[in-house]
């Protein structure tokens, strides 16, 4: 379980990217966080995967307070929380195989085990035939699959997806979401899914928090918020509107 208690992050003492955020993400959840661009979604997840230290508040991961742990424990924690990104962020000079092997190399895993593990992961994301390709030779969907395999190589308990499908077309988006759902159901990986697209959240999330201008304005079961949104911003995410010019 990941618990955020009154998390605030201020940059340069001026820009408050997130303010007073409290959230509980239960094991097995696919927890959606939806918000417009600039709402603070990436800042929030960067606090959760410990790439950024909140200005104030407390984060508890599996009953452990994590904001004052030592460097060694911090690295161990990060390995337990995988992240995939909108821009995939693959190592461009490494093959697909070597990208997935990267976290294992960091952990000092021996060559034979790496071979077996990478083969298993590439099979999982259906990219066995691309092991020797370079990222520049792949489509967006394929790149994201590599990123997923790479993130899973650490066998994380949590997986954060920061706009992971925002650069993909609808069909590819569906296939990636399906893969995420499968990972959640098969391996029990808890997923935190960031998006600005309600249809993405609705596809696979059970819970959702609506983020607007650094605050959480609404939170609850996806079905419930989808049927009966309270906040204006949540309503806007669901509405379809035809634009007009005079």
């Amino acid at each position: 379980m990941i618990e955020l208690i009154n998390i605030t992050k201020t940059y340069n003492n001026t820009i408050t990217a997130i303010k007073d955020i409290s959230l509980k993400i239960n094991d097995g959840d696919i927890f959606g966080i939806i918000g417009l661009s600039g709402a603070g979604k990436s800042t929030l997840v960067r606090c959760i995967n410990l790439l950024e230290k909140p200005t104030s508040g407390e984060i508890i991961v599996d009953e452990q307070k994590i904001l004052n742990i030592n460097n060694k424990e911090l690295l161990r924690m990060r390995k337990n929380i995988g992240t995939i990104f909108q821009n995939f962020n693959l190592l461009e000079q490494r093959t697909v195989f070597k990208n997935v092997a990267f976290p294992l190399e960091l952990n000092g895993v021996d060559k034979n085990t790496i071979k077996e593990e990478v083969a298993r992961l590439l099979k999982l994301v259906d990219l066995e035939d691309k092991a020797n390709s370079y990222p520049s030779e792949l489509s967006g969907g394929q790149k994201q699959r590599v990123a997923i395999a790479r993130a899973l190589a650490n066998s994380p308990k949590y997986l954060i997806c920061d706009e992971a499908t925002s650069a993909l077309d609808p069909k590819t988006t569906d296939s990636i979401l399906k893969l995420l759902l499968e990972i959640n159901k098969k391996f029990g990986v808890t997923i935190i899914l960031i998006s600005h697209d309600m249809s993405v959240i609705y596809s696979i999330c059970n819970k959702v928090a609506v983020l607007d201008e650094a605050h959480i304005v609404e939170e609850g079961d996806v079905e419930q918020i989808f049927k009966n949104p309270q906040s204006d911003i949540a309503k806007r995410f669901i509405e379809f509107k035809r634009l007009e010019v005079k």
């Binding site: 995967n49 790439l51 690295l75 161990r76 990060r78 390995k79 929380i81 995988g82 992240t83 990104f85 821009n87 962020n89 693959l90 190592l91 461009e92 000079q93 490494r94 990267f102 976290p103 190399e105 960091l106 370079y134 990222p135 520049s136 990123a147 790479r150 993130a151 650490n154």
Partner: protein, 219 residues
Amino acid sequence: MAEILFSSLGETLLMTLISTFLAYVIGLPIGILLNITSKKGLIPNRPVNLIVGGIVNILRSIPCLLLIVILIPLSNLVLGKGNWSGNWSSMIIPLTFAAFGFVSRVVEQSLAEVDSGVVEAARSLGATNRQIVFKVLLPEARSSLITGLAVTTVSIIGYTAFAGNIAAGGLIAQSFNFGYYNDDSTSMWICLLFVILIVQVIQEGCLLIAKKIDKRRKI
């Protein structure tokens, strides 16, 4: 003529290659330090960045010719008293000092070109800073580092001209001697031709390697 030409060619190659190597031995770590302590680096540290960057800047503003003079004590110490002139090896220390500040900046620039998103991904995977430098920054920047190597080597070849001032030999000094003192422009041009050839081989060779090892999308 042929004998002089080949010994000069050897001197130029030795001066250039050894100094380039030493300039990287010193300049590469400094370049890494400058990159990781910069504002967007792995461990931002303004004081360290400013001080090291300042020293590099000062070094780069001293002309190579003056470095020869300034570094006479060091050359004497390393090569033996009186050996600061008269042999190709006399140029190694001045050339290394003339180049390693330049190398630091070239390396810093190459590493800065690595996508910050890739570094963030590595951090999220629990990589240590050391692992990020050696497994992400340097390998991802490898193509740019090789092009930087070409630029560095070619400028060091240019600096070898000052070997003439301390009788340290080499193609450029020899070429000058032929043209200026002996009024032998044929020999002068032959020497120069070899310099041009070396520059071409280094530049094009490095570009070829840089292209070959670069697996990013070719535009």
